[in-house]
């Protein structure tokens, strides 16, 4: 419990800056909504006939830019990227920092089992990604309600944010997993960067090319996309299951490996 609180306290400052970044993105992104809303309507019909790959290049997608929530969908794809970076860094850093800061020996002399240590760190990670998610949701809600008040957009927003939370969970567990299996911090950093870049670039490539669609299971950025969530008004159960499996798998592997981990000091 002490460890959990300590971890929360030490991530307080970075969480503040990440939230600030999120708020800034939302405000900067949504501030332009008004001016686009009027021109959006007439183009929508035409856009629907446009091939998917060209929509992707033009940066529009199938989102309806004439409604606030549709416009928010565009901002959302950027928010999810930031939240994922935060999550993978949180996860990886939770494990790696004890060794970079040379505090691992001190921590492990405490009367705590390794499983307990990992659990506390896991809980702290989940708490801080949840906090980031909640802050983002609340700010988005306030800004969206300034444009118009309709119950349907609120439920859509909730769905989007739940989707974002699942993606955050995947990346956090991936970060923890990468940090536990790698011996050196240098390697952890390199692999985490690669994982993030590859999944992100893959999601871009899938948008561009239909034949690659089967690869969508490999990149969490494709699991809960604004354009499908806003149309279906629900999260895809297949991807929910997949998320659950991935998170459970990474977490249980991390427990197994962390128990026998040699410290690198």
């Amino acid at each position: 419990m002490n460890l959990y609180l300590k971890e929360l306290k030490s991530s307080r400052k970075s969480l503040f800056f990440w939230s600030l970044g999120m708020v800034f993105m939302i405000v900067a992104g949504m501030s332009k909504y008004g001016s686009l809303a009027t021109t959006g309507q007439s183009l929508n019909e035409l856009m629907n006939t446009m091939p998917q790959s060209i929509q992707a290049i033009m940066g529009i997608g199938t989102l309806d830019l004439s409604t606030p929530i549709g416009y928010f969908g565009v901002v959302f794809s950027n928010l999810i990227l930031i939240a994922s970076i935060h999550a993978i860094l949180m996860g990886a850093n939770m494990i790696a920092k004890e060794e970079t800061d040379k505090t691992a020996e001190f921590l492990l002399t405490k009367p705590l089992s390794r499983a307990q240590i990992l659990s506390a760190k896991l809980c702290a990670t989940v708490t801080s990604i949840l906090l980031l998610n909640i802050i983002t949701s609340v700010v988005s809600m306030i800004i969206l309600s300034a444009y118009y008040s309709e119950a349907s957009s609120l439920t859509s927003l909730m769905l989007l944010m739940t989707g974002m939370f699942f993606v955050q969970l995947i990346f956090a567990s991936l970060g923890i997993f990468i940090a536990t299996i790698n011996k050196s911090v240098k390697k952890t950093s390199a692999i985490a960067t690669a994982a993030l870049l590859i999944t992100y670039l893959l999601s871009i490539a899938i948008n561009l090319s239909k034949p690659l669609e089967n690869l969508q299971y490999l990149t969490p950025f494709k699991y809960f996309e604004a354009k499908t969530i806003l149309v279906d008004q629900s999260l895809d159960p297949l991807f929910l299951m997949l998320t659950l499996c991935i998170v459970v798998l990474f977490t249980s592997f991390s427990y197994g490996i962390f128990k026998n981990r040699d410290l690198q000091i």
Binding site: A28, D101, L197, S209
Partner: protein
């Protein structure tokens, strides 16, 4: 100083090879999609014929540039720049912070070299590595483009677009170096580098969607606007001078700070 320079090159050799190979693979992978996209575009253009004239004017022209070979290349290139920027900022952050992290700073500083020449040697090594990565990428890209399309393209426009990755990488190298002179001991290089580069990147993507002009001044990704280069065949020199100014300021500041810095 020469030894240090060579040592730095050797230390980062593997990472540079991996970056270069991945970038080359990436451009091959992305450009291989071009034939499908260009046929999509043709089909769509035929469909557009039936629309009123004003829609065609507002959309058709931009569509043509966007789906041309260089147009698609410059779209894909955005993501290449994202990667080269991450490489550059990590090299920049390493310049000063690596010695502290690996506890080699005291060893290095007992050598009969001044701090100025230490940082110069390291900076030169980083510059060379960035030059090599971007240079090889440019050659690969030059030979990749004709593989997937028989459209001819303007070589000087191609060079202008492709070399912008180098200029943006320089910006990130210097911002990384300044951050490590300012902040170190840096606890986590990856956290700082990813949040800096992706921060600027997401910001510039938002800027592109909302079409806000002032945003362009705040993110180096917009200093070399590919749409402008495609249309005019030149850089926007205002932004080039802004970048040169920023690099000079950051460079001088880094030297100044490092000379007086407490080393842990």
């Amino acid at each position: 100083m020469m030894n240090l320079f060579r040592h730095e090159l050797r230390v980062s050799r593997n990472a540079t090879i991996i970056w270069t190979l991945s970038l080359s693979g990436l451009i091959l992978f992305f450009m291989s999609m071009y034939p499908a996209i260009s046929s999509d575009a043709k089909a769509f253009q035929n469909l557009l014929e039936s629309y009123p004239q004003e829609v065609l004017v507002s959309l058709g022209i931009s569509l043509e540039t966007i789906t041309s070979l260089l147009g698609f290349y410059s779209y894909v290139f955005t993501y290449i720049v994202l990667c080269t920027s991450i490489q550059a900022v990590q090299l920049g952050l390493q310049i000063i912070s690596k010695e502290s992290r690996d506890k080699t700073a005291d060893f290095l500083l007992t050598k009969p070299v001044t701090r100025t020449s230490i940082i110069t040697a390291k900076l030169m090594a980083a510059l060379v590595l960035i030059l090599i990565t971007n240079g090889i990428f440019m050659v690969v890209a030059r030979f990749t483009l004709p593989l997937f399309s028989d459209q001819s393209f303007d070589t000087s426009t191609f060079l202008l677009i492709t070399s912008s990755s180098l200029w943006i990488a320089f910006f990130f190298l210097f911002i990384g170096m300044m951050a490590s002179a300012l902040l170190s001991p840096i606890k986590s290089v990856i956290a700082l580098s990813l949040s800096m580069v992706f921060g600027f990147f997401v910001f510039s993507m938002l800027g592109a969607v909302v079409g806000e002009e002032t945003i362009r001044y705040f993110t180096p990704f917009h200093y070399y606007d590919t749409a402008y280069i495609l249309a005019h065949g030149t850089y926007e020199w205002d932004f080039v001078w802004i970048e040169v100014g920023l690099i000079l300021v950051m460079g001088v500041l880094s030297y100044f700070l490092y000379r007086k810095k407490d080393i842990y």
